[in-house]
């Protein structure tokens, strides 16, 4: 049995609600937090593919800890340009990924919750 702080189970439920209709995989990270992967997330026509997965860790230190960084499946820009700042190729949990490094300055645990930040990251990426 995996046990988690109630703040994390609540955060996971909020992510599921934020991304209703999307499969959400939740895997314990081994230290009291979880790895979350939201499937079939739209990142818009600037990328190929236009739909991918969005992954992040909600650590045992949440909500004191930020959710950072975020990861998506490998993407190419449809305009042929390279990715801009804060986006770099890496690996996440044994698979190739793009890392999106967007820290929350003056973080507010409510505004910058795991669910709301995940959606903001998706939109930010789509707008690049």
């Amino acid at each position: 049995m995996n046990t988690l702080a109630s703040a994390i189970t609540e955060a996971v439920e909020a992510v599921r609600a934020q991304f209703t209709g999307h499969p959400v995989e939740v895997v314990p990270d081994g230290t009291g937090g979880v790895f979350v992967t939201v499937e079939d997330v739209s990142v818009g026509p600037s990328y190929a593919p236009a739909v991918t997965w969005l992954g992040f860790q909600i650590s045992a230190a949440y909500p004191d800890a930020d959710v950072y960084p975020h990861y998506v499946g490998p993407l190419s820009r449809t305009d042929g340009q390279s990715h801009g700042p804060a986006v770099q190729s890496t690996g996440w949990r044994g698979q190739p990924a793009l890392q999106i490094s967007r820290r929350s300055n003056r973080r507010d645990a409510i505004v910058d919750s795991a669910a709301l930040k995940a959606e903001r990251i998706r939109r930010w990426l789509a707008d690049q």
Binding site: A5, G32, A60, A61, D66
Partner: protein, 459 residues
């Protein structure tokens, strides 16, 4: 005022009262007398169960604290009811507090005891929690606990972690003469002071340049039990800053080196090495059983988890750090060492913006992904043994004087900042956010085993 007796840690049930609550309670009780209720969380301790006071409800004289039917004064039934409802709803122990005259000794009167026997069985049934009475003088405390399991027990000691780490008992402890090894030291600390050190359980989190010095000196001081926490191994570049380390030690766990040094310094010492990161449940469990924590690791995660333990389990700590800013062009900025006293119920590391939430998120990543998660790759920070020694000495002197009641001012817990380049030594008082979720009654303060460090739910 006469010097307070120094009492070594006692076996049995204890109550810990955060410094700010104690200050408020003292002002309410002394010298004119008054009544109050403390609400307290629970935790296991190294010497017995602990009650952790997190909130104080003071009774207004003549409204809530009224002439008694049997004794001089008593808490009004409506006041008792409201406090008991809070205790029930918050799963907290209920402790009614009053003061007696005198200084170094205190005990319940026969009227007090009769009152307990009339009232506490019913109050325990109503709350479903431990209930009891606490009687205080400025230098002594006695408690009568009616436990949730139906039994009854006296309170062995009341602990107040402030500028001094006060331990109040019903009457002063008698001293066991210090052994010849510590004779010179005991001439300052006293036999009871030396015995206090021997009975303390102290943790050192981070066994690098600062932690290595801390362990050496704590062992030589005669601290009885050391909990040693670090998951790192020794590298060649560490050798100039680790006490008694040699080339053969490269690759050795830092906990093993620290244990070897401590054992050499004091063969009777009890050691609990944990070669894990501090957020590992085993390390957190050991940390929560300590009397004092030295935080000598500079990661955001170490700061967060030690801060959480300090506030949730009411354990004083000192954070020790050295900052040597050198930019890529070699320009050396203002070097400083910081020794921050972390008191439960007082401005915590979050309130003082000393933990970065993004850095904390990175630190919590699995080791294999941690470096990649940094957008800007980290570079090793400068580190010099003499600066580490300066910071460690400040922290150790604070500890030894606090543990033996030798600080002039119980209220002084300012951080000490040394700036060696300008030879300045400054004090900084911590600030506190009114609704901090760690160091205020609105948060995890004193919630012990029911707080979020160990609170879990099923996935």
């Amino acid at each position: 005022m006469a010097r307070r007796p120094v009492n070594p840690p006692a076996e049995g049930w204890s109550l810990t009262i955060p410094h700010r609550l104690w200050t408020e309670l003292s002002a309410h009780l002394f010298p004119s007398g008054g009544g109050a209720v403390l609400l307290a969380g629970h935790a296991e301790g190294a010497r017995g169960p602990r009650l952790l006071a997190y909130d104080l409800i003071t009774a207004t004289n003549d409204t809530d604290y009224i002439p008694g039917e049997y004794g001089h004064r008593a808490l009004a039934p409506s006041f008792v009811r409201d406090a008991a409802v809070r205790a029930r709803d918050e799963s907290a122990a209920y402790l009614a507090v009053h003061a007696h005259g005198g200084l170094d000794r205190v005990r319940f009167s026969s009227v007090d005891t009769a009152s307990h026997e009339r009232g506490y069985p019913a109050l325990r049934q109503i709350t479903g929690q431990t209930v009891g009475g606490l009687v205080l003088t400025p230098h002594a405390a006695a408690g009568d606990l009616w436990l949730a399991d139906g039994s009854r027990t006296p309170l062995a000691e009341t602990v107040i972690p402030g500028g001094n780490l006060l331990r109040l008992r019903p009457c002063p402890a008698t001293a066991t003469p210090a052994g010849p090894d510590h004779d010179r030291q005991a001439r300052l600390l006293g036999d009871v002071g030396q015995e206090t050190l021997n009975r303390l359980r102290v943790a050192v989190v981070g066994l690098g340049g600062v932690g290595s010095i801390l362990v050496e000196e704590l062992a030589r001081l005669g601290v009885g039990t050391l909990v040693l926490i670090d998951d790192d191994t020794i590298e060649a570049t560490n050798l100039p800053r680790l006490v008694a380390a040699g080339k053969d030690d490269i690759g050795l766990l830092k906990t093993d080196l620290a244990a070897r040094n401590a054992q050499r310094a004091n063969p009777r010492i009890r050691l609990i090495p944990k070669a894990t990161r501090v957020e590992h449940p085993e390390a957190l469990k050991e940390l929560a059983l300590c009397d004092w924590i030295f935080l000598a690791a500079d990661s955001a995660s170490a700061r967060h988890w030690v801060n959480a333990t300090v506030q949730q389990f009411l354990i004083p700590a000192v954070q020790v750090g050295v900052k040597i800013p050198v930019d890529s062009a070699g320009y050396v900025g203002q070097i400083h060492t910081a020794t921050r006293i972390m008191l439960p119920g007082d401005g915590c590391l979050w309130c003082n913006r000393l933990i970065d939430s993004t850095q904390l998120a990175i630190d919590m990543h699995p080791k294999a992904e941690r470096d990649a998660a940094r957008y800007v790759p980290g570079v090793p920070a400068p580190s010099v043994i003499t600066l580490n020694t300066l910071a460690a000495a400040e922290a150790l002197n604070h500890f030894v004087l606090a543990a033996t009641g030798l600080h002039d001012d119980d209220h002084d817990h300012a951080a000490v900042i040394h700036r060696p380049r300008t030879r300045q030594r400054d004090l900084q008082d911590p600030r506190q956010d009114a609704n901090c979720r760690w160091c205020t009654p609105a948060g995890r303060l004193g919630r012990g085993d029911s707080g979020s460090v160990v609170q879990t739910a099923t996935l």
